[in-house]
């Protein structure tokens, strides 16, 4: 029953001509939940999802989103001393090899 997943808001439940699905009677509890979900996802101003609806219809989406978001552990410095300064980069002197003429 779609009424467990969505709540009608802004109007008294009844007939609405929707641009997506034509005439819908929100007073009818037997409308397939997929249709109501389509209207909700099309930004219907007359539908609000319930916590049960989020759990039932979007749990999979939520789980995928959580999996794809990497968890970055918080950085905690071990010491509070002065900042570490890396040693200055010095250029290695180029070695010149002496060439001898071939015999």
């Amino acid at each position: 029953m779609w009424t467990k997943c969505f709540k009608v808001v802004n109007i008294i439940p009844g007939r609405v001509h929707t641009s997506l699905l034509g005439m819908i009677d929100f007073a009818n509890p037997d409308i397939p939940v997929e249709k109501i979900q389509q209207l909700y996802e099309n930004d219907s101003p007359y539908l609000e999802i319930t916590p049960y609806g989020i759990e039932k219809l979007y749990t999979g989406v939520k789980a995928v989103a959580e999996e794809s978001t990497p968890v970055v552990p918080e950085f905690e410095p071990e010491t509070t001393g002065p900042e570490f300064e890396p040693p200055p980069v010095t250029k290695k002197p180029r070695t010149v090899r002496k060439r001898y003429p071939k015999n």
């Binding site: 802004n10 109007i11 008294i12 007939r15 001509h17 641009s19 034509g22 101003p45």
Partner: protein, 182 residues
């Protein structure tokens, strides 16, 4: 926004003429929120459609009206001088019979500020009326009365107009049940 190529682009080849046998109407003063015209459209398509739905004030709603098939028409008429072009949208329809309900409607509507939502035969909808301007009754359209011949058409013809700077498709919903008190 840039221009783009415009091809034939008929959805599933559909392009039937005329409007559906129902139009939706309401009082302009009963509308709480009008659909929003495009403000910064990025595409031509965005410039041709409104966003949001027409929401009514608490306890108010829109109503449906039956019309005889092939008597309804939504016409777009460009008007104005060069550099000052705009549109007049026309809705013409014929409701059969001369019973008190339709007589009462036309008595009430003839001097009222109205809004209409007009569905066409391809599933598109068009709004007549915005925050600034309503739709108003213009004339009897194709005629109102008993007709002359016995085979004639008896009923009420109606012609409503709405003046607008641009034309848009309406992608929202039509509330046919009263708005709830907030």
């Amino acid at each position: 926004m840039d221009f783009v190529d415009i091809d034939k682009n008929l959805t599933n080849g559909e392009n039937m003429g005329g409007i559906a046998q129902t139009v939706y109407f309401g009082l302009h003063k009963d509308v709480q929120t009008f659909p929003v015209k495009p403000t910064e459209p990025s595409t031509l398509e965005d410039l041709g459609k409104m966003t949001g739905s027409m929401l009514m004030k608490p306890a108010k709603r829109m109503f449906s009206m039956y019309l005889t098939d092939d008597t309804g028409e939504f016409e777009i008429e460009p008007v104005g001088e060069k550099d000052g072009k705009s549109y007049v949208l026309h809705l013409r329809l014929f409701h059969p019979g001369l019973l008190p309900k339709i007589l009462g409607f036309i008595n009430a509507a003839k001097n009222e500020n109205l809004v209409f939502i007009v569905p066409d035969n391809n599933g598109q909808m068009f709004v007549m009326g915005d925050l600034l301007r309503p739709a108003t009754y213009e004339s009897a359209g194709d005629g109102a009365g008993t007709s002359k011949e016995t085979a004639g058409r008896r009923g009420i013809g109606m012609h409503f107009t709405y003046k607008t700077s641009n034309i848009y498709e309406y992608k929202g919903d039509v509330p046919l049940t009263p708005a709830a008190s907030s």
